[in-house]
Subunit: 328 residues, 2 copies
């Protein structure tokens, strides 16, 4: 099942069921007004949404309309939790090696995780607006899961059954603000601006056998200003699978329905796969030549992030954003 | 105006208007079902709530009932953002001095801020449940504001007008998990379990002239197992006022209605005021004698946090929690 949120002027938008080929959509009103409301009572609501999804795919709904990703907010325009892991340890290792720092061996057994802001997400075609180009603006392509209620202390095995939806993420980062912020010792805040999400959230069954071992075994395609810069496979080199990341979230507290848990920047050891974030490109250059050459993004730059399924269809639709001046 | 949320089995509870003396309450249904919904459209909704508040205080409502803090969830049982500052720099300085570390001078001009989990808050009388006593369980008394929509880049002056409500906070911390977590470099996650809030959220006018300069000029009373351990004044030694903290939140992104911005542990330079968190007590002991003697909390321990107004009335009602074993 594929779900999206239509911008309708309200804070949470309107829940849509979207056809598998992303061509048509149908308002889910009468079932659940918003995606959060569906997640709040998933066991009761999701079978009704699945029914509508089947009817829509069969072309038998009366009020289907053409699906337009540009009319969409993030599937969850705002959420109660956005916990972002760093499951692709290769990325962490490269970032450290570029500044001659060693990565502690414990990073392979204990995930890094960041509590992100979740009150103001960007839709898949929303401009990413910043007050200045001087903050080191960079995209970061990730995959995320949306979970239902998970109790404190749940094991990874138990967490596996709580994955309700998968989403594609552009975790915007302000790289030039990171060093000073991390030096303060309390983690990221201003260096992590509003995060963007792909047009539709999908249930795991949509991926067929590309969803296995708690990972999405498909490449994440990144095009920066029209040029392909990355096609890292999200199933390769993901040291911590999603159930393990969820278990990290709930070690000392409950997690509630609609919480989003991210993979961190997708990164492969195979350099021919390119990169999913500019900071990693710069780290690779630094390691190779002692000098980072690739600049961060400028106003007017575009980024496209997409994942194509084994059937050749776009799984989540594409994130297509332009960097723009805030207030402009 | 004083507002609370009645536990009714739903995820967001039911919005109540509570009398100034905290004796009676009235369901706000017909005005707004939940506090988040009121905040989503504050300009339209709050005058209606104020009307009901006046009628309730005059004893003229038909369906008022006795207010019971034990029946309450947190005013916002879940929120879209919980951004917690460290505005009482004295606390930060003591914590560092206890481990022979110097505090950078920049900490007096650039606030520390932590993005907290906000999907599962505790009510004022909910037990604080943990899987083990071995995590260094500690209370932390704070004040927080709830804001409406604030645009990216807003100045502290502009932010001042966005404070809608004030709340009392118990920012539970797992102190023995903090060193390893901070050593990873990405900030707090597992060391910050579910946060608890006082029974009612209040509009700033409820404080009279105790709300000025963006600070709450009243002491925060902390009783641990019935013994008073702290009465630090929240208006003293708060280096960053709330408008300044909100401006920090929105430097690189918008903040949306219902975001909660916290002061951090209230801490006074005057040692006769005691302390608002156990870790600070231990830091003071460490500085004085080289050895921390006060232990963290055990299952069965109780903590009471309250703020009394100049009129002798409890402003927010009391947070009264017991530490308990999760699953028990």
């Amino acid at each position: 099942m594929k779900l999206a949120t239509l911008k309708d002027g309200s804070r949470d938008g309107q829940l849509l069921v979207v056809s598998r080929d992303l061509c048509t959509a149908h308002v889910a009103h009468g079932i659940a007004p918003t995606l959060q409301r569906a997640l709040d009572d998933w066991g009761f609501v999701s079978p009704q949404l699945e029914d509508l999804y089947r009817t829509l795919n069969d072309g038998k709904t009366r009020h289907a309309f053409a699906f337009d990703p540009a009319a969409c907010a993030a599937p969850l325009p705002r959420a109660y939790q956005w916990a972002d892991g760093s499951a692709y340890v290769n990325h962490v290792e490269l970032m450290r090696r570029a500044r001659d720092a060693e990565m502690p061996e414990s990073f392979r057994s204990d995930p890094l995780m960041v509590q992100g802001g979740s009150d103001d997400f960007l839709g898949p075609r929303d401009s990413a607006r910043f007050l200045t180009e001087d903050w080191g603006i960079g995209f970061e392509a990730e995959v995320a899961v949306v979970i239902d209620d998970v109790p404190m202390g749940a094991t990874p095995e138990a967490c596996a059954s709580h994955v309700r939806l998968l989403m594609l993420v552009n975790d915007w980062s302000l790289r030039d603000l990171i060093p000073a912020e991390l030096a303060k010792g309390f983690g990221f805040f201003q260096s992590k601006p509003a995060t963007a999400f792909g047009p539709v959230a999908v249930t795991p069954d949509e991926l067929g056998d590309a969803w296995r071992d708690g990972r999405v075994h498909l490449p994440v395609l990144c095009h920066w200003n029209g040029r392909k810069v990355g096609e890292a496979d999200a199933g390769t080199d993901m040291v911590f699978d999603f159930p393990r990341l969820i278990a990290h979230v709930v070690r000392t507290r409950n997690a509630r329905a609609g919480s989003i848990v991210g993979s961190g920047t997708v990164s492969n050891r195979d350099p021919s796969r390119g990169w999913s974030c500019i900071a990693e490109a710069r780290a690779l250059e630094m390691i190779a030549s002692g000098r980072a050459q690739t600049s961060f993004m400028r106003f007017g730059d575009t980024i496209r992030i997409e994942m194509i399924g084994r059937d050749g269809l776009s799984v989540f639709g594409a994130i297509e954003q332009t960097v723009a001046r805030a207030g402009g």
